[in-house]
Symmetry: C2
Subunit: 238 residues, 2 copies
Amino acid sequence: MNTRFKLMGADHPAIRRLAELVHLDEPAMAALAMAVRNHRPERARRELLREGTAVASPLLLLSGWVARVRLLEDGRRQILSFILPGELVGHCTQPRPLAVSTWTALTNVVTCPAPPASVSDALEQAYAVSAAREEANLLAQITRLGRLSAEERIVDLLLELFGRMRAAGLASVDSFELPLTQEVMADATGLTSVHVNRMLQLLRRNGDIRWSRGRMQFVDAAGLANRVGYINRQVVGG
Amino acid sequence: MNTRFKLMGADHPAIRRLAELVHLDEPAMAALAMAVRNHRPERARRELLREGTAVASPLLLLSGWVARVRLLEDGRRQILSFILPGELVGHCTQPRPLAVSTWTALTNVVTCPAPPASVSDALEQAYAVSAAREEANLLAQITRLGRLSAEERIVDLLLELFGRMRAAGLASVDSFELPLTQEVMADATGLTSVHVNRMLQLLRRNGDIRWSRGRMQFVDAAGLANRVGYINRQVVGG
DNA sequence: CGGAAATTTGAGACGAATCAATAGCTGTGG
DNA sequence: CCACAGCTATTGATTCGTCTCAAATTTCCG
């Protein structure tokens, strides 16, 4: 239900967002509008793509959240990155691209295949920018896992997600819809869900965040970012 | 001294390796041979590229080791990935590409600018394959940091580096040149150098590795990979 | 409304960090 | 060729952060 959209075609929020990222020309907009017609829903927990499988085409996520995950044999799970509504992923210039990670729907989602980059230079650029952001997110994730404390990891992740949701026009001035369980946050931050819980409580007690019914609110996002040193902003030493 | 090469032009090991990766056509080989003539040495500890700076062209690392690093304000450091001799990085389809990480020479190195992808389809494919491997390495790094124990992280990293050195034709059947200090390994694995030291001693005492004068030898690489579940091989659960 | 999933809380164990001090190595210059 | 300086590696004692196990409570969904 909440993954349904009334808007179709060129008016779709995901397209509007892409168009803001890079100026999209006529052919690009047309191709995207066409692609959106091919939207398809998937239920939460569904695997959209399995590691080692051939990947069809890049994907535009129209609504819902997706995670790229890696599973170890003994059941340990690591979330590599999140894909947020309106984002574009899976751009491959490769010959016979095999997926290097499994994609799992965290919520009910609606996706559509993204049109080929060959449609227009503008579209190709949009893909390039998307790819660059994707890589930046991976690098942030590495730093988070390697060098931040539990509290820092959670705050940093939340701030990143907040920023990306804002970029997608899906956040209010100080809050956003966060459809993640603490278990999922744990798999993303390399912690246990028990410890994630304790850190979230701590943040609540300290008056840093409010969180209920899937909505995350920052009492003072800027201050929090400053206190914890949000790594996406202040990266280079000195 | 040890960063000097006698071979030049198309005979260069780095080019031979690329040519094995993807079949390279005439124009690609010629362009590479030309590029290698522009080789330049850099001293260890030198920053090759600073985060936020415009990146000139993709880089071919002819010899020596480079690390992509991220520094936090308080001095914490995370190594995002290693670039090994013979590897190619920095492929950007982007309009005005800004570096998202700092590159530091870990040893004396020799680099050359890689020729533009437009030279030939074969070269473009080679870049695409390089990029895909680079991403796979980042994903492996995330999993390592998020879900492996200290011992596992170190073993997994060593096995990855061993595999990549073999791919570059720079490893013997069971050992390779590893010019990293324990501090560097610590910054790559998200541990302290003290703990890295303890884990390496443990591995030595257990007869898993031998390590002296910068050479790392595996007593039984396959067995070790199996025991710690080298995440690059056995990734998908089940 | 009922059952499953998610969150919350506590006690205790364990892994890795920290602090501190010693020993070994490497290159450099006298 | 030796001695010194400055990294690098090693070791021990202790602290701290996070995990583990377990149980109770709440929330969500059909």
